[in-house]
């Protein structure tokens, strides 16, 4: 996937969000730190572009809600910023890669501190499989079959696939 493919995927997902929710009136887009944040911004901009209404954008850092706190080094990447009360809104969570589902579980836990949304939906640029929890995405840029030990990198330039061996110079079990 290159940058143009990603732009087209975001545009398609935006249409799907509008179709599913009959507009964007109650929609709040929340990007997960760090990879989901730029995608959330461009999804919200595209929603505005298509539907004509302003869409609030928030960012969420789930470090304090992870289930592996204390097991590995965990520090927040950035300060969470949820600009509106989420009660009765439709939250579209945005992340770059959906893998085990643990980040999304932590995000659902974190969202509960900001009110009671009418619905929470999940948009991801890449679904690479290997879920460890009963979580599925509502809007997907691309389904990308992977091995567990591969790395998926999503940036402004596009999506690329590497192996752990490439990046850290060792093989994984």
């Amino acid at each position: 996937m290159d940058a143009d493919d990603m732009r087209r995927a975001i545009r398609r997902m935006a249409h799907e969000v509008i179709e599913r929710n009959h507009g964007v009136a109650d929609v709040v887009v929340v990007g997960l730190q760090t990879g989901g944040v730029p995608l959330a911004r461009s999804l919200a901009a595209t929603l505005r572009d298509i539907d004509g209404h302003d869409v609030s954008v928030g960012t969420l850092d789930v470090a304090f809600h992870r289930d592996d706190v204390g097991l590995r080094p965990i520090m927040p990447e950035a300060v969470t910023d949820i600009p509106v009360d989420l009660t009765d809104r439709i939250v579209v969570l945005v992340d770059d890669v959906l893998f085990t589902g643990r980040t999304v579980r932590a995000a659902l836990d974190a969202l509960a501190g900001f009110g009671r949304p009418r619905a929470v939906q999940l948009a991801v640029m890449v679904d690479r499989g290997h879920r460890e929890l009963p979580i599925r995405p509502d809007f997907v840029g691309k389904n990308l079959p992977t091995r567990r030990d591969e790395l998926v990198d999503v940036s402004a330039e596009g999506v690329s696939l590497g192996s752990v061996a490439d990046s850290v110079g060792e093989t994984t079990p």
């Binding site: 304090f64 706190v69 204390g70 590995r72 080094p73 520090m75 910023d81 501190g113």
Partner: protein, 318 residues
């Protein structure tokens, strides 16, 4: 970071790290439900050999917002009254399975001694006249909110420096962040030696106030003064109290701080404490977020394995 004993353990980088993490916990504290599960299953015990309201409550709020469990130990109603030693008390608490002990004690160095006896994390919540690092961290955070950076800022620490562990930690922290610190006090209320302290000293409060960015008023610690160090409280207030008239000498942007509890009318006039330049309340509310950051750094941010309790042989023969 394994313990928080002194500001010196943190250095400039460590203080900046705590500040950055505190930003996140200020956000958590402002949520409709200000609680995160980060320290679920961790237990923090308070071991307070001296009175404290705000520090203990502030740590308590911090631990609860992180979902940690807390155990309270107050000396007045415990086996210490039956003559139990500090070491036995601390090891008994640890044997109940705590991950951190927050200690306040009237003698300098007690937190260091505890780290030799215990495996759990130790946080210094005030040791004698020596240090009170979390107070200094919340003071730095409050100043950073107003000034962005402390680099080159002038901070006057005024009053009973001699008995003040707050001053001990603040001087270290402010200097580490690049501020110019001036101690303003009568000679009898300064430590016997200021060797190695990165400070200037003045006995003329009026002169210092006209150019300072911050007037940090210390509590007159009457309970620690067993000799007459000032001729009278009225004279102390006349020379070193931040009265309404004297506060007018401050530059427009200058802030007034106080670690609490205040002796209104002695080191600070009530009107000054309530004025718009006073950030005393912000100090208190920032205190909770700073202590959340400290507890998270010690217990949640990446220790590879859970803390194990003290080995049996040490517990028995130690």
């Amino acid at each position: 970071m394994r313990h928080l004993l002194s500001i010196d353990d943190l250095g400039r980088d460590g203080i900046e790290e705590v500040m950055a993490l505190t930003d996140s916990f200020v956000e958590v504290s402002n949520r409709p439900i200000p609680k995160v599960p980060a320290l679920r299953g961790k237990t923090v015990a308070w071991l307070f050999y001296e009175d404290s309201t705000r520090t203990r409550l502030s740590f308590e709020a911090a631990a609860r917002r992180l979902s940690a469990d807390t155990m309270n130990f107050s000396v007045g109603s415990s086996s210490v009254k039956k003559g139990e030693s500090l070491r036995d008390t601390a090891q008994t608490i640890q044997a109940m399975g705590v991950d951190a002990i927050v200690v306040r004690h009237g003698s300098a160095g007690v937190p260091w001694q505890l780290t030799r006896w215990l495996d759990c994390a130790v946080v210094n919540a005030g040791d004698g006249w020596h240090e009170h690092p979390t107070q200094a961290l919340l003071d730095c955070y409050t100043l950073r909110e107003h000034f962005g950076s402390l680099e080159g800022r002038r901070i006057a620490i005024v009053g009973d420096v001699k008995h003040s562990r707050v001053a001990g930690s603040d001087v270290r922290a402010f200097a580490a962040l690049g501020a110019e610190v001036t101690l303003v006090a009568p000679p009898t209320l300064l430590p016997a030696s200021l060797e190695g302290w990165p400070v200037q000293v003045s006995h003329d409060l009026d002169a210092v106030l006209t150019t300072t960015d911050v007037a940090y008023m210390l509590r007159m610690q009457l309970e620690r003064q067993d000799e007459a160090l000032v001729p009278s409280l009225r004279e102390f207030t006349a020379c070193f109290g931040l009265t309404v008239d004297r506060a007018r000498l401050l530059p427009d942007h200058a802030l007034v701080m106080h670690p609490g509890p205040m002796n209104r009318g002695i080191e600070i006039a009530a009107e000054v404490a309530e004025s718009t330049r006073s950030v005393i309340r912000q100090q208190v509310s920032n205190g909770v977020a700073v202590r959340m950051a400290v507890l998270f750094l010690l217990l949640g941010s990446g220790r590879p394995e859970p803390i194990v309790t003290v080995p049996e042989e040490v517990a028995v023969h130690g």
